[in-house]
Structures are given as C-alpha cells and as structure tokens.
C-alpha cells in the first residue's frame, strides 16, 4: 500500500512537471521563507562567531572576520533574488541530500540546500552548512547519482571544515607576507588537497547511500564538458528558411575553420583550485574498483529516471530565462533550438526565442556597447555554426530575420500580448533601413520574378562599359539578395504591411522625440514628474573603511542600512511619497510571495541594466505588471551609496614642501593625518511602463557621508520627482 502511495505521488509529481512545462514561465520559490533568509545579519554573525570560537580549525582572531565576511556575502547572495527555495529543483536536490545525510556518521541536520539561478555548472558550500547548486548544473547532469555525488562532495567540505581551514591557511600566508609564486602555488595545492578529500569522502558517502559507483564516476565526464551547451546537435537552419529562402553557403562555416572540442582530462592544474579530471578520477579509482560490481546499487534512490529527466527539462527551461537575463543571446538561441526539438510548439520557448531575436536586433541596431561576443572562434562544437551565422549577418539582415521570426511566432499565439508588443517593436529596427522597403522583398513565387530577371539577363545591355559591368556583377553578389525571399511567408499578410507603415510613423515620432530630448538636455528645465508612490529597493549602502577590520565594516554597514531605510521612509512621508520596499527582509511580515515579487523585479532590473542608452522592452517586462498594479506605481527607485575610506600613504614631496613653506605645515599635517574618503551616490528611477529611466542623479564626493547627510541627499532626489 505504501509503495502504491509513493508511486502515485511520483506520478502526480511528473504530471505536475509536465503541466509546468506547458505553462512554464519561470521557476519560483515556494513554501515558507527560510529563517536563514530573514534573520538579522548581526544575529547571524554573533551566533556564528560563538560557534567558530569553539572550533579549533580557525583562530579566534580570524573567526571574527571570517564570520563577518561569510555571513555578509551569504546575505548578499540571498538578497540578490537569484536563490530559489521550495521549487521543484531544490526540493528534489533536498530529497537526495536527505538520503546522504541519513547515511553520514555526522549530525547534519543543520545543512540546508538552495538553488541558484545561474547557468554556470557549479555547486558550493559555506561553513554554515548552506549548499548551493546551480540551475545550470541540474541542466547538465545525466541522472540522480551524479547529483548525489556533487552533493556528497559539498557535504564533505562542510563536515571537514574546509572553508574554515582554508581561510586560516590564507591568513597565515598573508601574515607571513608570502605572496610569491611559490606561496600562491602552495595555496592552490592546499585547495586541491581539500577538493581531493571531498571527492574521496563524497564518493564513499554516495556509495554508502546506495548509489551506483559507475554512475557516480561519470560525473567527472559531465564536469569535463560542462562548458559546452546541454547537448551537441547540428544547427538546422530550417527554422528561418522557407520554400524560397535558404541560408546561403556564405553564411555557413567552412569545415576547416571548425574547432574541435578541446577539453582534456590532464591539463596543468598548478594554478587551479580544483585538480584536473584525470587526478580526480584516479583519486576515486580504487573505491570505484572495489564497488564496481555492486548489483544492489542504484542510479535513482529518491526519484525515478522519468522524474529526474522532467526535472532536468524544467532546469533547461529556466536556463532560457537566465540566458536572456544576461543577454547571452547566441547561446540562448542554440539552447532553444535544442529544446524546441522536443517541445516544438511550447509557448515559453517561442516567447523566449522571439525575445532573443528582438534583443539581437535591438543591440546591433541601437547600441554601440554590445555585451556579448558573436565570434565563433571562441566556441567549440556545433554551436560554432550558429555563432558564425549570426556574426555574418549585417544589421539589416538581422533586423529582417528578427521581424520574420517574431511575426511567425506571434501568428501561432495571437493572444500572447508580449509577442504582439515584440512584433511591433522589432519593426522599428526593420524600417530604420532605407533598403527595407517592402518592395525590396519577394512577394511572388520565384518562378514569376525569376522569369522577369531572366528576360533582363537574356538581353544584356551591350553598351555597358567595363566598370558598369563590374558594378552590376558586384551588385548581383551582394548578400542582400540572399534575403530577397526571407519574408516570403509574411510579406503578403495585411497586418504585417499595416504594421510596417505604423512602424515608419512611429520611427519619425521617436526621432522627433529624441531631438526634443537633446534640445532639452542643452537647456535644462524644471522637472514635471510627479511620483506619489514609488516602488523601492533597499538602499545599497556599502562603506569600506580599509583601516578597520572586516567585522567592524560589516556591522556598521548593516546597522546603517537599517537606520537609513527608516529615515528615508520618514522623510518620504514629508514629501507625500509612499515608498513601497519590495525587499524588506527585516519586516516580520515578509513572505515567499514578497520574495518572489522582489526576485522578479531584480530579474527585470538586471536585464534592463544591460541595455543602457537605448529604448528596449526587457523580456521580464511581461511579469512586471502585477507589481505595478499591486503598488499602484509605475516607477521603481534604486539607491546606491558606496564609500571607501583609506589611510593616505606618506607623501615626502608634500612634507618637504610644507616644511619649506612653514605656514603650510598645519595644512599638510591635516591632509596627511586624515583619511582619504570618497563616496559615490546614485539615485535612479525607472519607468516600468516605458522601461526607460525617468530620473537619475549620480554624484561623487570627496567625503564619507554621515547617515543623516545620506538621508538628506535621498530626500533631495525624492523631491526632484515630486511636484508640489
């Protein structure tokens, strides 16, 4: 009966995941928010500090700083919005982790696991017992046993206190002022020793839990090739082709330029934190041989093959979101082509692929600062073909293909508002080229147009000069001709023709608006903004006083940030501005719903920050409307205050000069004895409807700002966006 129930639960879980794939948008956290997320930093530091002082792996002196730094970094990670809890990936990994904890001799109840929204293939553990795995890792793994090995490896780091020991070791090196190559090499060797221990002990732990040795060993192969996409599949260009338009050979990479996959097991790892794969394999080889024929061992203990593959699919879907957030479009496009083979009509994949085309077109046509590199030479494997193709496209061709792709995708989902807005937006780039008149593209099947061309060719103008003939020949070789039929499937669509005309009008209006903006920039006027309600993120207050200990800096930052939030709220009230902090972890009523909301907003902001200086609709904009409605505000405010204080180095020149000019000596003394202080202040408001900045104030000061002065500057910035 129990088994039937378990089977039922699993099958329901798989069904739920399948449904999730159909309606997938993005992974979200679920369940109660972990205490660890909302606990005050000073409480975490002091509790951790006490614990570390009883630990002989680190000296008391180092423990204070170590605890402050690690808890602060951990808090920053948690408050980055990139951490997932209670989601299917984390839940599954926790299930596997529980199997490992159960067979460990240590009491590991304190160990927690979360998933990080990153496409990097990585996992790490902190000394507090917090293990992070990445979405990219799950997306690459082949089975549960491999996940178990990774988790067992991280558990070993926690059990063996490798982080504490490593910090102590590094501090000892610093104390001895040993910074030479040998010292660095020693540090890496120490790190590799720890990793080797973690491999060996982790392997044994996973074996004890019942996982299959051979499957565990294959984890190293996954890690070796983890820098490649999730699959090696030939690029099929049929997705952009039609019956009359085929991608020409000049857009396809020649075989001789294709780079082989270069990953090797036996690389020089002297200056690497981890041993090479060959060494890692050798370290576990004895254990592997002893356990190779254990028939009772399993690949799946917590889940099943189906549930794991469903989980991995979910991770791979989420990877699309991350590719787009990071504007890693070429990789994202290749990833989506792989995913669409199994899910050809999936709305999420169509949405995200459309977004990639829009992003590529927007960057290439509107921005001079492109965050990605389309050079195929830096890629290996099949993905090179896609990089080569995208790199070969000129701006005009790219905007044409983007228009083609987004229009085709939008026809499949006419009710999808986001796709509708993208298809309008992408035409803006398309019509910005004079060559992109609809008349420049084939509307009739080639038989008709070819015959017309043939007539021309059959009756060559005999009077053409040598140079005219060259010009004609060059013209016929132009790559634009390759795209003559690229819009064939949509060019006769009335909506498309109408939209192109509208895009031209919009472009003219936009150009007029930009000119107005430039004029007003030359002659500033008073603000007409009026923002009665502002969505806010916690001011990012960071002061680094290099004369003081890490602990002192961390404590001060945390305390000031708390005080500053309260002061800012009080002062906003004076201006009748309601501030809605979306990331108020200190608020006891902060829930998972709030956490997901703020995580969503940060995804949006992170994506938008890639597109400085241009109009752009971020992919995450489609999820922002609920936040706008909830807080009844279309503006989000960001504050950044970064202060650095450091001791001035002795300046013999100034000292000598002041001694000569006697009266200048007190001034010199003041200069020399006071610290060098600098502060960067930034207040920034983004309009969540236009996705463009509405207000920005950036200042640089030769001073460290008192808390109340910080507040005064924030008040001043808020005053600029409020019309009295």
């Amino acid at each position: 009966m129990k088994n039937i129930l378990l089977l039922l639960i699993f099958s329901l879980a798989i069904q739920a995941t399948a449904q999730d794939i159909e309606h997938f948008t993005k992974l979200k956290s679920a369940g109660p928010i972990p205490d660890f997320f909302v606990k005050f930093l000073d409480e975490k530091i002091s509790a951790d500090d006490e614990k570390l002082k009883k630990d002989n792996s680190i000296s008391n002196k180092n423990a204070a700083d170590f605890s402050a730094i690690t808890n602060y970094k951990l808090q920053q990670l948690v408050q980055s919005g990139k951490v997932l809890y209670g989601d299917p990936l984390t839940e599954y990994a926790n299930g596997v982790l529980d199997k490992l904890k159960a067979v460990s001799e240590e009491d590991l109840d304190f160990v927690q696991l979360y998933t990080l929204k990153s496409n990097e293939v990585n996992a790490f553990a902190t000394h507090q017992g917090v293990i992070f795995i990445t979405v990219g890792l799950i997306g690459q793994l082949e089975n549960e046993a491999q996940l178990a090995f990774i988790l067992a490896h991280e558990l070993t780091h926690v059990i063996e206190k490798h982080n504490q020991l490593s910090y102590q070791y590094t501090q000892d090196l610093v104390k001895k002022s040993r910074y030479g190559d040998q010292a660095i090499s020693n540090y890496y060797k120490y790190s590799k020793d720890n990793e080797e221990d973690a491999d060996k002990a982790g392997f044994k732990l996973a074996l004890n839990a019942g996982y299959n040795a051979e499957s565990l060993n294959k984890t190293f192969t996954v890690l070796l090739y983890s820098y490649l996409p999730v699959d090696e599949q030939a690029v099929d260009f049929s997705f952009i082709e039609n019956e009359h338009f085929k991608v020409g050979d000049n857009f396809k990479i020649k075989d001789k330029y294709i780079q082989e996959i270069s990953a090797e097991e036996d690389i020089d790892d002297e200056f690497l934190t981890h041993p090479n794969i060959k060494t890692r394999r050798e370290n576990v080889s004895n254990i592997l041989r002893a356990n190779k024929k254990d028939d009772a061992s399993k690949v799946y203990i917590y889940g099943t093959s189906e549930s794991f593959i469903a989980l991995r699919t979910l991770a791979r879907f989420e990877m699309m979101n991350i590719f787009i957030r990071r504007a890693d479009y070429a990789r994202g496009l290749y990833h989506s082509l792989i995913m669409r083979r199994a899910h050809p009509e999936n709305q999420f994949l169509l949405n995200s692929q459309s977004m990639i085309w829009y992003g590529l077109s927007a960057f290439e046509n509107r921005s001079e600062d492109i965050p990605y590199n389309l050079s195929y030479r830096k890629q290996e494997g099949e993905i090179q073909h896609l990089y080569y193709f995208l790199n070969k496209l000129n701006k005009n061709e790219l905007s044409t293909l983007a228009a083609q792709q987004i229009w085709q995708n939008s026809l499949a989902f006419p009710d999808n508002q986001f796709l509708q807005s993208l298809r309008t937006e992408v035409l803006r780039d398309f019509v910005s080229f004079d060559d992109n008149k609809l008349g420049s593209f084939g509307t009739q099947p080639p038989e008709l147009s070819d015959s017309t061309e043939k007539v021309d060719q059959e009756e060559p103008d005999k009077t053409l000069s040598k140079y005219e003939k060259i010009a004609q020949k060059r013209k016929s070789e132009k790559s634009e001709d390759d795209f003559y039929y690229s819009l064939f499937n949509i060019i006769n669509n009335k909506d498309f023709i109408l939209a192109v005309d509208e895009a031209k009008d919009k472009l003219e209006k936009d150009e007029a608006r930009i000119k107005d903006t430039e004029d007003q920039y030359k002659k500033p006027q008073e603000s007409t903004m009026d923002v009665p309600s502002l969505i806010m993120t916690t001011p990012n207050f960071h002061a680094q006083d290099n004369r003081k200990s890490a602990k002192s800096n961390v404590n001060k930052n945390d305390l000031n940030e708390t005080k500053l939030v309260n002061l800012v709220i009080d002062n906003a009230e004076k201006l009748n501005i309601t501030l809605n902090f979306v990331d108020n972890f200190r608020d006891p009523s902060f829930t998972t719903e709030n956490y997901n909301e703020f995580s969503q907003l940060y995804d949006y902001l992170g994506e938008r920050s890639q597109f400085e200086g241009m109009d752009f609709i971020p992919y995450n904009a489609q999820y922002i409307s609920s936040i706008v409605d909830k807080y009844n505000s279309k503006y989000v405010g960001l504050i950044n205050i970064y202060t650095e204080v450091e001791k001035r180095p002795f300046n013999a020149g100034y000292a000598l000069l002041s001694a000569v000019v006697f009266y200048a000596f007190p001034l010199y003394l003041k200069w020399q004895l006071t610290a060098d202080k600098t502060t960067d202040y930034g207040f920034f408001v983004l309009n969540l409807e236009t996705h463009n900045p509405a207000f920005s104030s950036t200042k640089y000061f030769n001073a460290d700002m008192n808390l109340h002065l910080q507040n005064a500057h924030i008040y001043n910035s808020l005053n600029q966006i409020r019309k009295k």
Partner: protein, 267 residues
C-alpha cells in the same frame, strides 16, 4: 544585486543623456529645512601682545609674547537660498581681559613713568554683528544649510576696554616715599571697526535636526588698514596713549579662531 545596483548607477549617467529630459535641480535644502541657528564658541589665542608705550626708552618694555586664550560666544542664523548658498546673520559677544604688563604711561612733565598696577586687569567687552554668505561644498556632500561650507562676510565690532579699578602707579621715583598713583578708573577706550571674515566650517548632523559645528575662521580687520576706525573716547593724552597701546592687539583680533558649537534646524 549589489553589483547590479552599482552597474545601474554607473550607467544611469548615460541613460540620462540618451533618453531622459535633463532637469534643473529643485532646491530641497536639508531635509526640506532651510534655516538653522548655531551657537559656537570661538577660541582664539592672543597672538600678539599690545604694544607697550615706549616713549621712555628706560621704561619697562616687557614684550612677553605669551599666548593667552580668548573665548567669544557666537550665534549664527543661516537661511539657505538654494542647495548650495545660504545667507547668514550673526552676533557675537566677547568678554575677556587683557594683560597688564604692557600698559604704561610716561609723564614727560614730571619725567615719571607709570605702569598699570599689576593686580588690576582692564576688562574688555566686545560685541559683533555681521552678515555674509555661506557656500556649501558640493564636493563634500554638503547640502545647504548642512555640511562643509565656506563663509565670507562683513562684521562690525564694538570693543570697550574698561579700566575699572585700575590705577597707573608711579615707578622709578626716588623722591617719593609713596608712589604717585594716576587714577584711570573712569576711563574707557571704545573701538568701532569692521572686519572681513572668512571661515571654513562644517555642520555635521547628529540627529535629523541637531548638529555639531566646528571649523576655523580668520578675519582681516580694518584696524590693520587703519581705516574706518573710530575711537569714541579719546579725550586727552593719556587716552590716546591707552588707545595706541591697544591698537596692535586689535589688529590681529580674530586672526585665527577655532570654532566649536552646536546647532539646530529651525524650519
């Protein structure tokens, strides 16, 4: 997120240029308040002693250059015109005494010279009113009327030196069993002069409304220029000599003043 915010802040300048209408900054003053009142103590050394009356070359010529401290009390009312500039009005009082060693009087008729009886000290009472402008230093994150600022203004000083209970006592006479005393207790020396004051000071908030004030100021007095100087009390020779004896001290009054005080934001 921290990195994200930093990125956004760094890029926001470009965003602003590319897409946003640039606006003139509205003055917000310090948290919406533009006026404050500061009470400060001005600590200043008596850097230079007054000039002895030296018409008797054999007379005492004690040029003891000990530095004596003086304290003046000062109230300053600031009202900000915008986020960078404020106007101030101030009033100050000085109550101190001056060293006695350097006042002497030579009576040419009797060939006697007199010095001030050492146990008596002339009282000095001063009043100052002034006005000027304060320029708040944007580079130091100041926002008027709070933060680091440079002030420049004019002040009018009235200084009364009262010789109450003071007597000039005869020195050097071999013929008199009892030294002859010259009573100057009813005399006063009054000075009216102007000064150009410059100050580098800082208002650092302790709470939202309360702040501490510190800094340094210097003055160029009209006494030094011998202009706009008025002595309202000179009646005879002795007055003139007393007046003269104070001139050099006055010329460097407020030359180097260290200020420490407290202030409050009013409205």
């Amino acid at each position: 997120m921290r990195v994200l915010l930093l990125l956004i802040s760094a890029f926001s300048v470009f965003w602003a240029q590319a897409q946003m209408v640039t606006v003139k900054e509205k003055p917000s003053f310090y948290l919406g308040k533009r006026a404050n009142l500061t009470f400060a103590l001005g600590l200043q050394p008596t850097l230079f002693p007054s000039k002895p009356v030296t018409n008797n070359p054999d007379g005492p010529n004690n040029t003891n250059r000990l530095i004596y401290g003086n304290v003046k009390s000062e109230f300053t009312f600031n009202i900000a015109l915008n986020n960078k500039v404020a106007v101030y009005l101030k009033g100050a009082t000085l109550r101190t005494s001056r060293t006695t060693n350097f006042i002497s009087y030579y009576d040419q008729v009797n060939s006697n010279y007199y010095t001030l009886r050492e146990e008596t000290t002339p009282a000095i009472r001063g009043r100052t009113v002034g006005a000027g402008f304060s320029f708040y230093r944007k580079s130091r994150a100041a926002i008027a009327p709070m933060g680091s600022h440079f002030s420049i203004g004019l002040s009018k000083h009235t200084l009364n030196i009262s010789y109450e209970d003071s007597k000039l006592i005869e020195r050097g006479s071999n013929f008199s069993s009892k030294p002859f005393e010259l009573d100057i207790s009813d005399r006063t020396s009054s000075f009216h002069y102007f000064s150009l004051e410059m100050a580098f000071t800082n208002n650092q908030p302790i709470t939202q409304n309360l702040y501490y004030h510190y800094g340094f100021s210097t003055s160029i007095n009209s006494v030094r220029l011998n202009a706009l100087l008025e002595d309202s009390s000179a009646k005879d020779d002795i007055d003139e000599q007393l007046f003269d004896s104070n001139l050099s001290a006055l010329s460097f009054r407020d030359f180097a003043v260290l200020k420490i005080g407290l202030g409050y934001m009013l409205f």
